[in-house]
Amino acid sequence: MAEYLLEVNHLKKYFKTNRGMLHAVDDISFRLEKGKTLGIVGESGCGKSTTGRCVMRLIEPTSGEILFEGRDLMRLNKKEMRAARSDIQIIFQDPFSSLDPRNTVMQTIAEGVKVTGKYKTQAEIEKRVLELMKTVGLAERLINAYPHELDGGRRQRIGIARALAVEPKLIICDEPVSALDVSIQAQILNLLKELQKDLGFTYIFITHDLAVVNHISDDIMVMYLGQAVEKAPSEELFRNPIHPYTKALLSAIPIPKVGASRGRIQLKGEISSPVDPDDECRFARRCMYTCDKCREKNPPLVEVSPNHFVACAVFPEQARES
């Protein structure tokens, strides 16, 4: 039996709004092995970032169970949770807003270093900061630079170094490359992969970019309106997508090749509202295969083949038949 670093069960986050309850994350469950990467993909507003933040209780989940190394984080009090956060870190999307503009590179990374409590004197801290800067590929001379003097790629490296400084086991990457130019994006993706290989990190990688998620993840969870619609190992998901939404998503990726554009699945309509959703398949109103079964009740996530889960009333049967 595999050792799970993180096990999330029935995670829910509802926000109270003027119009009713917004189901941002609605009954998400997943497990993550040590040293692996789980990719969470979905479009804006599907709850992927909220899920990431809920896992470390930066946003307080409404209900659910978050087992980290067997311990339920939901049961910890405020102080215990602060201590537990050093095992889980987060890297943000926007390298402009994720760094305090008044802190130098040294000050920013040192904040993380001090959390470990291992480095006491200023000299020790500085030495450790320099080590971390080297790990993420920042030149030593930048140690006292301010964020506004650096470009997006370098700022993102500082954010990564700050997260590494705490010596976490799990790193949540929330769209870490979306704000970067392609040539810089590739540099950061390679860095994250190397770090995982060398230091054995486990990642939750949140993104809307399917090409990126495919490149970096072992498993992928596709989210739609707060729910997981499909979950499978990356290769399986891209080779054999089952859920109509996953299929549409995959077919919508623009591929940088002449004449590569394949038969595109056109989605009709718009994403329905996540406020007090009816008990029906959330995708039913945009789906071309919708039938009565879809409107009866929200289909649960079921395993259609080993490790391949789908929440669809129409397709699992067909998948099983074929």
Partner: protein, 295 residues
Amino acid sequence: MSKGKEIAAVTAAGTKSKRRDIWRRFRRNKGAMLGMLILIVLILVGATVDFWLPEDWIVGQNLTEKLQHPSAKHLFGTDELGRDLFWRTVYGTRFSLAIGFVAVIISALIGVPLGAVAGYYGGKIETVIMRITDIFSAIPSILMAIAIVSVLGRTTINLMLAVGIAAVPQFTRVTRASVLTVKNEEYIEAARALGKTDPYIIFRHILPNCLSPIIVQTTLRVAGAIISASSLSFLGIGIKPPTPEWGALLTAGKTYIMGYSYLCLFPGLAIMITVLAFNMVGDGLRDALDPKLKN
């Protein structure tokens, strides 16, 4: 060794370039530069006047020279007791500036933490703080100051306190507003992810990044405080008359305003110029510190 030097050089260059940027934008604003020049002179005068101005010139009465119009000997003329109005006005700088600065420091010390707490925590705490602030700002500040002075007694310190407390709501509002924008920045979330405590986050990350609007507010409020203090003195509940505070000078002069209007004109001008200088510097600072206007 050489590495250390290089690092030091880079730091110096970094902070220097940021400050130089602000200074360059400030310098471009001619009004602000003029205001600052006036303020520097006023502050120098106010801080040192005790040392070089003979007391006799300020309080010494000379009834033979009473109520003289401005002349080469008495630039601003003399009052009903024959005291030189120019020197009394110059000496008044000390009081007006001191009251302005101390009052504003008092209001900032109370208002900024309240605003920070309200903005950061939100919810019930915010509602309570902001409603109290609303109530306070609904009372005319002069009335409130009168009330405070009459309860606590008529001393300079109490006057500062009264003027300061009346200006607290503005600081609370400004601070809360800028905390609200800063607290949603991802670096605040990052600090929480590192397991930092709330007070640490407020003092280390939030307040330093709210500094610009607070500095601007402070400068502008000093002007307001000087006016409030003068008004109170003018109404006869501020500094007592023999002390040459500008508002008190106005009160003393108003009896003779029909024939000797200069007795009110010059202290009034002093107040106006000082307030104008603070406002011009405040506006200049706002433009120089606001990154949105950068370039």
